[in-house]
Amino acid sequence: MSAPLVHRVGRNGLLVELEDAEAAEALHAEILRRRVDGTLPPVREVVPGARTILLDGLSEPQRLAAELPSWDVPPLRRDEGSALEIRVRYDGPDLDEVAGLWGVDTAEVARIHAGTVFRVAFCGFAPGFAYLTGLDPEYHVPRRADPRTSVPAGAVALAGPYTGVYPRSSPGGWQLIGTAPGTVLWDSARKPAALLAPGTRVRFVPEESR
């Protein structure tokens, strides 16, 4: 792995840029590990992105910036432990379009999506919204040319390398392939409030059609 690029963000932040998503996930895991064992300097926020990790609220960012590129980061370990399961009805309005883009029928879209083990790469957009990676590159699809003004809560969607579930109704430009009924992605009264956090492994389980 090539050394990460470290950018300064204001007086107290660093943006660490990796060569790809996998390297970013590995570094994120290492940062969390060091935070737990007390060897990371105090930091207010650790925010993974697609290829980056933002560290904010550091008292001496320059020291960590100098040290970080020489860290020995173990590769990301795959397939450890069980994955969180989300039940899905593959009934989205863009299912036919996605099937066309993939060159398969709609049942096969469900089979491929449900057969993939995903991992939360990062969150954003809305509380509880997670960008899940894991889909083979051949199944990456573009965003819709005309974003919807309202996507219902629970919609299961695809865009680029990601899949995601809308925690609440909002505008959205992703391709909708299904619905996750009964999955509460965000509940402030629950601990933890977010069902999905960076690093969480996820599997979609097709709900039998009745």
Partner: protein, 313 residues
């Protein structure tokens, strides 16, 4: 939400309203409950939020003997009015405005005693945008993730106030006790005629042309009326990108100067998105964001290179 069909216990006990509730008589254009926000949850998609003019919020609480973390009401331009359930002490800080109690003039920036049932009205701002109406004991709506702040982007925290809303207030602190500190007077900080925002380059300055950086640091922008708690939007010359590819989503900070494709910079305020896909040309240190939160639409804005941190040297 386990789907068992058995209703769970209520998350919030009803006795939090035992002391009575404030009643919103005039909500104003946009009045929200604010405190010092909820840091530490950006990785879950939740911004820090909290009072935009944090010094004004803290001062209001100090004047009342509240902890600085107590929740206050942040108004926008047109103020707000509330009726108190019992005897109360209140203060208005931030943007100066005419204050009345039951229609009679009352001082701004000085704690005011209110008899039971009185209506305190913080009128339209005469300078600046955002006033803070605070009560001894603080606004005690239920906290979410340790904060009572309204986050307009995330939809976390209480909704913006509407006429007729009821807001629980906490028991006042030892305001009248013998240990009370001398009354502090609110400093009158005139909002800026011209907003000068120091900016530290990075993390994506190299995504812009050298001309774009020169434009940012030498030309004058103006505060756009489209700004909100998410960001200070600016009208002025567009900043030209040096590369056209898409930036993969990355973490965003308070004070980030993000440049969307049309080229006009947006300075991120408390309710900013936690990740974003447009490059950040520079970052305004947070201590300069309170004046930005008080700058009315049309205010000229200049960006200047930031010097060393005030506490570093």
């Amino acid at each position: 939400m386990s789907g068992t069909g058995i209703p769970g216990p209520s998350a919030h006990s009803p006795n939090s309203t035992a002391r009575g509730a404030l009643v919103v008589v005039r909500a104003g254009a946009l009045t929200t409950v604010q405190d010092l926000g909820r840091p530490g949850y950006a990785h879950l998609g939740v911004s820090r939020s909290g009072a935009l003019d944090e010094p004004a919020h803290r001062l209001a609480n100090r004047l009342l003997g509240n902890p600085e973390s107590a929740a206050t009401l942040e108004t926008t331009f047109s103020g707000c009015a509330v009726r108190v359930p019992g005897p109360a002490v209140a203060v208005v800080t931030g943007a100066p405005c005419p204050v009345t109690v039951d229609g009679r003039p009352a001082p701004w920036g000085v704690p005011v005693r209110l008899p039971a049932g009185a209506v305190i009205d913080a009128g339209p701002a005469t300078h600046g945008l955002r006033s803070y109406l605070a009560f001894a004991g603080g606004i005690q709506v239920p906290a979410e993730l340790g904060s009572r702040a309204t986050d307009l982007l995330s939809g976390i925290g209480p909704a913006p106030l509407r006429d007729g809303d009821r807001l629980p207030v906490g028991p006042p602190g030892p305001t009248d006790g013998p240990g009370r500190a001398t009354v502090e007077a609110a400093r009158w900080q005139a909002p800026p005629r011209e907003l000068v925002l120091p900016v530290l380059c990075g993390p994506r300055t190299d995504w812009f042309t050298a001309d774009a950086l020169r434009t940012l640091m030498t030309r004058t922008y103006r505060v756009s009326p489209k700004g909100n708690r998410i960001g200070l939007r600016l009208d002025g010359p567009a900043l030209e990108r040096a590369r056209d590819d898409e930036l993969p989503s990355e973490g965003m900070t308070l004070g980030a100067v993000q440049v969307p494709p049309e080229g006009r910079p947006v300075v991120f305020l408390a309710d900013h998105p936690v990740t974003g896909g447009y490059p950040v040309i520079g970052v305004v240190p947070p201590e300069h964001l309170a004046p930005a939160a008080q700058a009315v639409p049309g205010t000229p804005v200049r960006f200047v290179p930031a010097g060393p941190a005030p506490r570093d040297r």
